[in-house]
Amino acid sequence: MQPVVGAMYPEQMALHKDESAVTEGLQRVDSMAGLTFEELFDRYNSMVFGLVFQILGDREEALDVSQEVFLAIYRKLGSFRGESSLKTWIYCIAVHRASNRFRWWNRLRRRGTVSLEELLEKGAEPDFCASTNSGFQSPEDALLIEEERAEVQRLLLNLPLQQRIALILRDIDGLSYEEISESMKISLGTVKSRIARGREMLKRSYRRSTS
């Protein structure tokens, strides 16, 4: 088994020696999930970044919030009791941080300092998304698919925050209803209604945009 602190963070060794809570947290994670912080980062960084990006729709903000999420994970490891799975615990932190950041944006937008349209435009940029085009598609087809995906992503960003998060967790990240309930700290019934309403709204807006 690897040491508690991975080779990636040599300067953190001293920190772990000093702060016993963090050390205990890391050891607990180590014993429960068989992971060091480095392994934890490797395993969950794309999950966290992807989720935060889908919620916020902005790459730079997603980067910033992802850092905050991993810092929070690092600090809160000592308080992780293993009552939920490590995955839903990390999801919970990521959802909370991204929601806070989005609300902060909303407040700025209401004051007129940030343009949401600009935000959505930025969010619709496909250049940083992994292309899944197969080599058999013509350039025109590939362009059409890209445009349609960008449109779906834009419509998704227009959904109310809570419904959007529920839909992302369910349809993009593939979480079960129970996992979504734990991640968002809401009841199972609320999860069902948010997903149903989110899909309904997305369906209507998609119809409007294609008609």
């Binding site: 300067e11 953190q12 609300r103 149903a196 899909r199």
Partner: protein, 256 residues
């Protein structure tokens, strides 16, 4: 099963979280209801579009950024850490709408209570009567009664006589400065009361002397001052009308 009920359960049906009996009912309904089938297909299509969104690639340097933040967190002095914690807490308060509005409401209530407390506890210095007692006693018992008698005589008004035992200090209070009232009377004090008629242009013309001063020069100086000063004429129904004005001038000597 009614269409409305089926439509409300389509999302759960797609996710296969309905109980088996209900799922069978929905399945059977979709088999023969064209409209519900269309809605079902649309929802499936939306779900597929969401699932087909390309995976977001994490930038390689996220690892380095986290590493830098962790190192910075270690090297920061305690004051910077406290500031960061406070800033984070404050940002949570500001960004969480419910907490923000409650904070503002609480702040308003606390400020109001604070000002009420301040107003009730602190007495302004100019209201501190104890510290600066004012001598409200009239300078002369006969003075006010004499003035009132003369004024009534000049104006031709019959005023009821005040009981001899009671003193009406109103005139003294109205005419004398607070400073003068607190100063003991001296032999150099002098008073003059003059009756003027003010015409519609605001010019004052002396009609008579109610009280003569001991020093005649004071009478001419006061009269000169009043006649050279413009006054706002009295008005009745919005129009300027002639009126009478009583000027009572008290000259008070203050030593030291």
């Amino acid at each position: 099963m009614l269409c409305r009920k089926v439509l409300s359960q389509l999302s759960e049906y797609i996710d296969e979280v309905l109980d088996p009996d209900t799922a069978v009912q929905v399945f059977q309904h979709l088999d023969h209801c064209e409209n519900c089938r269309k809605e079902f297909d649309s929802l499936v299509m939306i779900q597929q579009k969401l699932r087909s969104l390309p995976a977001v690639q994490t930038p390689n340097y996220l690892r380095s950024l986290v590493q830098i933040r962790l190192s910075a967190g270690r090297k920061e002095p305690i004051s910077a850490r406290i500031r960061n914690v406070l800033e984070r807490r404050w940002s949570i308060i500001r960004t969480t709408e419910g907490i923000w509005y409650w904070t503002r409401a609480l702040g308003t209530v606390m400020t109001t209570i604070f000002f009420i407390l301040i107003a009730s506890v602190v007495t302004p210095y100019y209201m501190n009567v104890e510290a600066h007692p004012i001598d409200w006693k009239p300078r002369s018992i006969d003075y006010s009664q004499q003035v009132m008698k003369n004024v009534s005589k000049k104006l031709g008004i019959n005023t009821p006589q005040a009981p001899p035992s009671r003193i009406n200090p109103a005139i003294n209070i109205l005419c004398l400065l607070r400073l003068g009232q607190s100063v003991p009377p001296s032999d150099n004090d002098d008073n003059v009361s003059l009756l003027y008629a003010v015409d519609t242009d605001g010019a004052a013309k002396m009609q008579g002397v109610v009280e003569y001063p001991r020093n005649r020069e004071l009478l001419s100086r006061v009269n000169e001052m009043i006649t050279n000063s413009p006054f706002r004429p009295a008005s009745k129904n919005g129009k300027a009308v002639p009126s009478q004005m009583l000027i009572m001038y008290n000259s008070i000597s203050i030593s030291n």
